[in-house]
Amino acid sequence: MSLSDVIRWLTSTPVNTVVMDYRWVWPISEILHFCGLAVMVGTVGAFDLRLLGLGKGVAPATLHRSLRYGVAAFVLSATTGSLFIFGQPDQYFYNAAFKFKVVALLLLGLNVSLFYTLEARRVLALGPNDDVPLRAKLIAATSLTLLVSIMLFGRMLTFFRP
């Protein structure tokens, strides 16, 4: 199955019809996509900043509790993002910014796995003013960089349209 077959299939689905034929589906999806983005970047970013020492004074476990909202927000953003792809697949699959955004998202997922495998137990036991191990700081710095990259490539989508 080639990329053009996938695009043809996506544009023939009822989801494509809903996204493209109802005037307010796209703008409402965009609003929800950005709300999801703000919650995800806010909760994950605040946690990362604490690990990097900028939010010292708050126990990492306290900020970690809000991450479940970040996960829910990610699901919301991914769902609405999928609607855009169903709506105009060719605008995304042939777009360099979209490809970079997907890579950044995958790397973010890998980075989250690294955190929970290697550092979560140690970090979540720390007190409000405790310093975080260097490896956890590196993971947090990577996470912040990837979050900013996701926003950057997301905003660049319009300017890289085929």
Binding site: T43, G45, L49, G55, G57, T62, L152
Partner: protein
């Protein structure tokens, strides 16, 4: 009078630069900075709101100065990038009622952040065992609604404008 002011603004070197600079470091990058500022201000504010709404007392002593600084830095980035975006297409924004609704919501959001900081973290901190008072929780709910409204109106700007340039005004 307004039309000639808008035409003058559109012709200023700053406006032309933001609109026409042929690089990703022009208009696209300013747009990205606006999103980054939103994430720093509204995003961190939302994270704090959710935290306050899900707790009854502060389990441990907290000092918020670092995160509060991040929010104010986000406000600075948003204000600077917002002014640049407004300068690029003044007629598009200033003739759209949704733009004024967004501005009002931003002011409301910033006020909510300041109130929450004062109610929940007087002096930038809260001591262990201190209750999270009802006023702070109410402002946290208000803040969530306001930021959702800000994002909604911000996105709707792209769909609700009637003109792009002052020359299109009747």
């Amino acid at each position: 009078m307004l039309t000639s002011l808008l035409i003058w603004l559109e012709d200023t070197p700053g406006s032309v630069w933001v609109r026409e600079y042929p690089s990703l470091f022009g208009f696209p990058f300013i747009l990205f900075l606006h999103t980054l500022g939103l994430a720093m201000l509204a995003g961190v504010s939302i994270a704090i709101d959710l935290w306050l709404l899900n707790a009854v007392t502060f389990a441990r002593t907290v000092r918020m100065t670092g995160l509060i600084r991040v929010m104010w830095l986000g406000l600075g980035i948003n204000t600077a990038s917002g002014v640049a975006l407004l300068l690029a297409y003044p007629a598009k924004a200033l003739t759209n009622p949704v733009f004024y609704a967004k501005l009002l919501l931003v002011v409301g959001g910033v006020y909510a952040v300041a109130r929450i900081n004062r109610e929940a973290f007087p002096g930038g901190a809260a001591i262990a065992g201190a209750p999270i008072n009802a006023i702070a929780k109410r402002w946290a709910v208000g803040s969530l609604v306001i930021w959702a409204g800000t994002i909604a109106t911000g996105r709707l700007l792209a769909y609700t404008h009637s003109v792009l340039f002052a020359s299109q005004l009747p």
